[in-house]
Amino acid sequence: MNEKHFFGRQPPEIRDARLPGKLLVIEGADGSGRSTQIAMLSQWLEANGFAVRFMGLRRSNLVAEDLERAKQGNVLTRTTLSLFYATDFFDQLVNAIIPALRAGLIVLADRYIYTLMARDLVRGADRDWVRNLYSPALLPDAVFYFRVSARQLVERNFQKNSTLDYWESGMDLGLSLDMFDSFVKYQRMLQLEFQKMQREFGFKLLNGNRPIVKVQQDLRKEIAALLSIGAPTEVSAVDMEAATPEPIPAPAEEPV
């Protein structure tokens, strides 16, 4: 029971795949509201007596610092970039995610292999090569994909940082010398990859253009069913405080 599955052959470090915890993945671009939703989810899960752990990209003990430094220097070629992120990912999988799941915790992943694969694919990586690379990864119990229009993403990124990030704009791809232009093009390319993956991997699609509370209610409904929690509680004012970033106004526009 509680046997978990892997995309391909499991890594040699994992001898026992009986992992009673749950791995819940939130995917979506920067500015799609992932961290806000995750903060609110963890509040609700803890209120229901579940212990929560977080994971995200570039958070491994092993390479997070070096990866950050390398990104500052613009010296990364694409295979290197890809493998650097894969090292970071599998280090966390083996040393953090699996032990937490073994202990019965809920792991909330702020992005997972799907973002990593999409980034590699839009940089021209061979599809089979990328699939093989991530095949020792653990299959999540659920993946929620927040889809937000590219224009909306730009607005939210400006609200947060007042500048666009070099990598999140895909500037290394040379799509355009204009950063805004590059950001929009790059995010659309990623969305196309996500659409393909959504069909294949059965992501639960959430319209991230809607108000925070609505998205959170949908998430809780889905997760409550997965964890056999009774009727999900309404999103309260306390929950809203957990959402540390500024509340984001609901847009009228549909996702691209």
């Binding site: 052959r9 890594p11 040699p12 003990n61 092993l62 390479v63 070096d66 295979t79 599998f90 061979d126």
Partner: protein
């Protein structure tokens, strides 16, 4: 990642073999030989990219590396050298000499329990060398060349992470024996050119130079 860039004027020569097989000495002599003829030659060795050096040494020192991350961090190191040095140099028409190539990774990572098919696909972005010299020595010969001086063996070098033995020397013996089996199984699959490395250095070098000259038109690599 893409397999389209295989048209290049350069040549790639790799050496493989157990620690203590004498392969680095042989490759150094090849380098000198080519340099003295005025050839465009470049030497690269395993595990030397500056980019991931810190992470690799930190991981090794603190014993943070598990088989999968050990494999991937070395693949990252290799990719960095490959994309920024090896491939551009091949395209620029150099003779590139590689002290260990992907076969070292295939052998070590397989011994650490990773799926062989997965590893070979992982490294499939790398072009196959024009010549792969495999320096073959009996296990006992290579072990005594390394261990007779009772060197301080590093944790991963001795394979201590695998828990075969708590004694570094015994662990190293087990590890090298397993590597040897992996090399043996790769020989025909990847077309290794086997060199009997029990012979005198200059005898081996003469054979190596002859084999290179048969396959590569060396005068065409002279700097103009």
């Amino acid at each position: 990642m893409t397999f389209t860039q295989r048209n290049y004027p350069g040549k790639l020569i790799a050496v493989e073999g157990l620690d203590g097989s004498g392969k680095s000495t042989q490759l150094y002599l090849v380098k000198r030989w080519l340099e003295l003829q005025g050839s465009r030659v470049y030497f690269t060795e395993w595990n030397s990219s500056v980019l991931v050096k810190k992470a690799t040494s930190k991981g090794k020192k603190r014993q943070l590396l598990t088989p999968t991350s050990f494999c991937l961090i070395h693949a990252t190191d290799f990719a960095d050298r490959y994309e920024r040095q090896i491939l551009p140099l091949l395209r620029a028409g150099f003779i590139v000499l590689a002290d260990r190539y992907v076969y070292t990774a295939l052998a070590r990572d397989a011994v650490r329990g990773l799926d062989k098919d997965w590893i070979s696909k992982l490294y499939s972005f790398a072009v196959p060398p024009d010549i792969i010299f495999y320096f073959e020595v009996p296990l006992e010969t290579s072990l005594s060349r390394i261990l007779d001086g009772r060197p301080a063996l590093k944790y991963h070098e001795a394979g201590l992470d695998m828990g075969w033995s708590t004694d570094p020397y015994e662990s190293f013996r087990v590890f090298q024996g397993k590597i040897l089996n992996e090399y043996s199984s790769m020989r025909s699959k990847y077309g290794f050119t086997t060199i009997d490395a029990t012979r005198e250095i200059h005898i081996q070098q003469a054979e190596v130079r002859r084999l290179i000259a048969e396959k590569i038109d060396i005068p065409s690599f002279r700097s103009s």
